[in-house]
């Protein structure tokens, strides 16, 4: 039974990774950039909810809503101010700028909220589920997390395949030049992608902080890196890849924490990533890139 509960918790953690990884993957697929600041958007979402719920004593649902709005606006603003001027510049320049944005967000949060960890009140009030005569208990947060991940994934796939904006996103990720020629507004499409990714980061923030209820300006950093690993793992640019990568990562992390060593779990996660990339250099679902001579 304990194995099952570790597994379910792993899937839950993995679902959070998957939601964050979606943001990485979509932005990478469309703008070909590693948005290092993505993890910090999660933290901003967390603090937005914290302010609404714990400081202002308003309902959690409103907190999530505000967080989504704040993060979406923030994501679009960052893209507009910091990344858009660098379109066409080397990917390394964009990467360093993203790192700068990450520092910026962390330090603004540090100034406003200080470096002490804040106790986050869970925004999820679903009761725990007892199975197998009480032997297996699944927390409400876990259930909500996994369900949200599935919902988001289905919604996103529908959005991309059924709407015009979604199709435009696909076109831009396939070939930016050709998409422009077909009359697609590339700038708007990229902005939309950042908006969606950041909104998802806000939701991920709510789920993450409800699972691990301690909030600091650096809260988003490590989950951000892990989600980035998950995105690469699944094949960066691929939406189902983000799901597979995220869930696998969460499960591996939780099982190795439970059965091998809690201190070594990160090392194990990263080792698995390396092995996967050595066997499949572009991740599990990544497209093979061949260089034409």
């Amino acid at each position: 039974m304990s194995f099952l509960s570790y597994l379910i918790n792993g899937i839950s953690l993995g679902s959070i990774y998957a939601i964050i990884a979606l943001g990485y993957t979509m932005v990478y697929g469309i703008a070909r950039m590693l948005n290092f600041a993505h993890g910090d958007i999660i933290m901003v979402g967390g603090f937005a909810i914290f302010t609404i719920v714990s400081t202002l004593n308003l309902p959690p649902l409103l907190g999530i809503l505000v967080a989504v709005v704040v993060c979406t606006l923030l994501g679009v603003t960052i893209e507009r101010v910091a990344y858009k001027p660098l379109r066409g510049a080397s990917s390394l320049a964009v990467l360093i700028t993203a790192i700068g944005v990450s520092y910026l967000l962390q330090n603004v949060a540090l100034l406003i909220f200080g470096s002490n960890a804040r106790q986050f009140t869970s925004v999820i009030t679903v009761p725990n589920l007892k199975l197998a005569g009480g032997k297996l208990s699944i927390s409400g947060v876990t259930i909500v997390t996994i369900l949200s991940c599935i919902l988001i994934m289905v919604g996103l796939l529908l959005f991309i395949n059924k709407t015009k904006t979604g199709q435009a996103m696909l076109a831009v990720s396939e070939d930016t030049g050709a998409a422009t020629l077909m009359g697609i507004d590339v700038n708007r499409t990229i902005a939309t992608t950042f908006a969606i990714g950041s909104a998802l980061a806000a939701i991920a923030g709510a789920l993450l902080c409800s699972t691990y209820p301690s909030l600091t300006p650096y809260t988003g950093s490590m989950p951000g890196i892990k989600a980035f690993v998950a995105a690469v793992f699944g094949g960066i640019g691929s939406i189902p890849g983000a799901l597979i990568g995220g869930v696998l990562l969460g499960v591996i992390e939780n099982l190795s924490k439970a059965y091998i060593s809690s201190q070594l779990s990160d090392a194990i996660v990263f080792s698995v990533l390396i092995i996967v990339l050595l066997v499949r250099p572009t991740g599990i679902l990544g497209k093979k890139i061949t260089e034409k001579v």
Binding site: A82, L92, A93, Q106, L264
Partner: protein, 354 residues
């Protein structure tokens, strides 16, 4: 004619470093150096070595590495481990430090080769994430490692000190997350500067030699390099492992500048690797002198801003973003070239008028 130009450029780079050293000596002799500044001198040398060596991988070989701090970590622990073990055998601290530097470089270089062989097949962002992963793995492993020494030799464990099963007289050298304590503080600014000069000597001479040409040809066009018979794997590994070995030297220097050495996210985590990468990119890819200047300014800047306390990292972040946009945005580059053109025209017309 071209060779002379290179020689002049390199001499200027060496001269800047030596001038810095002389200046600091003068300032400290006349008592103009604050204790804060003094404490910063060795770290500055460490960052310069790290930036110059990372530039070899990122600027000269053209591969993005986010794991440079991992090699520094390996070098630091290998060097400090040696110094601790040889406490009784080599009594001279200086001599032990010297050997520790060689050993730190060798072990980090070896790790560079071991990691490079599988990893250098990957490209671009994938290589970046894998090097980041390796850096984290190294840090993680060192944090759970316990090594002790007694009359029976070395004892290893990944659990705790008691499971080492040592005699009572044994010494625990690496104590898990606490790392290594009691390394002599042998590093000085002068030693740091000498190591910076040696690093520069190796990197600059490598770049301007047959091997350096091979490495840069791979960066510029791998397929063409292969077609003229250049062994891609060999030269990629060479650049990567020399870069790792030099990071190892920086690590040994780091370890001997503190009395206790532990692998934390702050000193050997990916954030450190990223910080060094920032030096390299702002200094200019492949521009060794630029790396030195960027490392010095960007290390000194937050310290100078200490008076601003909480705002200093914020200012740092904003400066970073603005500089990147100003340096790399296609629009900014265009505007600058237009401006330069006008400036030149202005100058020539002024000359003609005169």
């Amino acid at each position: 004619m071209k060779k002379n130009k290179v020689l002049v450029q390199n001499s200027i780079t060496y001269a800047i470093v030596i001038a810095c050293w002389i200046l600091m000596q003068l300032l400290s002799a006349t008592g103009h150096v604050s204790s804060l500044m003094k404490g910063l001198m060795v770290p500055l040398c460490i960052y310069v070595i790290l930036a110059v060596s990372l530039n070899l991988t990122v600027g000269i070989l053209g591969e993005l590495s986010l794991g440079h701090a991992g090699f520094m970590c390996v070098g630091a622990f290998a060097g400090a481990f040696f110094t601790k073990c040889m406490e009784g055998v080599i009594p001279s601290v200086g001599l032990r430090f010297f050997f520790a530097l060689l050993i730190g470089a060798a072990v980090a270089g070896l790790f560079g080769i071991l990691i490079g062989i599988p990893v250098l097949r990957l490209k671009g962002d994938y290589l970046a994430i894998v090097t980041l992963a390796f850096g984290e793995i190294i840090k993680n492993l060192i944090n759970v490692m316990y090594v002790g020494l007694d009359s029976n030799g070395f004892h290893f464990s990944i659990k705790d000190t008691t499971s080492l099963g040592m005699e009572d007289a044994g010494v625990v050298i690496i104590k898990g997350a606490q790392g290594i304590t009691g390394t002599p503080k042998a590093a000085t600014f002068t030693i740091g500067i000498i190591l910076v000069l040696i690093t520069l000597f190796i990197v600059l001479n490598l770049i301007n030699s047959r091997a350096g040409r091979a490495i840069m040809s791979i960066r510029d066009n791998r397929i063409a390099a292969e077609s003229i018979g250049i062994n891609i794997t060999k030269y990629k590994l060479m650049a990567f492992s020399i870069s790792a070995a030099l990071a190892g030297v920086a690590g040994v220097l780091y370890a001997h500048n503190l009395s206790s050495l532990a692998a934390t996210p702050k000193n050997f985590g990916y954030n450190m690797s990223i910080m060094i990468l920032v030096f390299v990119v702002l200094g200019g890819l492949g521009n060794i002198r630029g790396s030195i200047i960027a490392a010095v300014i960007l290390t000194a800047l937050p310290e100078m801003l200490r008076g601003l306390n909480n705002y200093r990292m914020l200012i740092y972040a904003i400066v970073l973003i603005v500089m990147m946009i100003f340096n790399s945005s296609p629009k900014a580059i265009e505007m600058r070239s237009v401006f330069m053109e006008r400036f030149k025209k202005h100058k020539t017309t002024a000359k003609e008028a005169a």
